[in-house]
Symmetry: C2
Amino acid sequence: MSFDPSTLVYNDAGLIPAIAQDASSGEVLMMAWMNAEAVARTLATGKVTYWSRSRQSFWVKGESSGHVQHLVDFRIDCDRDCLLLTVNQQGPACHTNRRTCFYVEVRSGAEVELMQPEV
Amino acid sequence: MSFDPSTLVYNDAGLIPAIAQDASSGEVLMMAWMNAEAVARTLATGKVTYWSRSRQSFWVKGESSGHVQHLVDFRIDCDRDCLLLTVNQQGPACHTNRRTCFYVEVRSGAEVELMQPEV
């Protein structure tokens, strides 16, 4: 079956959540949003491209920081309303310069910071 | 810093996306939604509890199917608007009886089903 981005299920803002997972470590790096055109661009270019809700514009991950995500594998979930992208991440994924955006753990009712920004 | 579920960033419907990842394999299993009370219940019980948008009720994962998710690790992302839960998944995570909800891959412009339902 050939893939058509318009067959995905988008929310009222025309967006679908996309989870990025590191292809080598398996670490979940971040979650961001795509519209149908961002999905198409990601597949066409191999550079993961989100839709920035704050800037209301396409966001080629790493375009300004150099922390590019090269697409390895593109998956769709059972309800077609969530994406899982396996990526080769160049540099840290998080805008705080940490490897992953998920660097805070809740442990015994307290928040614990698991890693520091890379230098 | 002690953790308060009300300090997370929820969408207009009062929900936050939660990604479930298998603690042993590292496989991303599913993404679903939680409200503040579901977050509190998940942490209090250790049984991952979502908010079902279709049924508008709490959804203790596996309550009817037996495919329970036992919480191992609870993480918050940098923007506090997404959760990552590491879990011990009992049985298949997907309602289609597949190990993960992300069983369709887009490969060379076509959709490929990567696994069959477990029996």
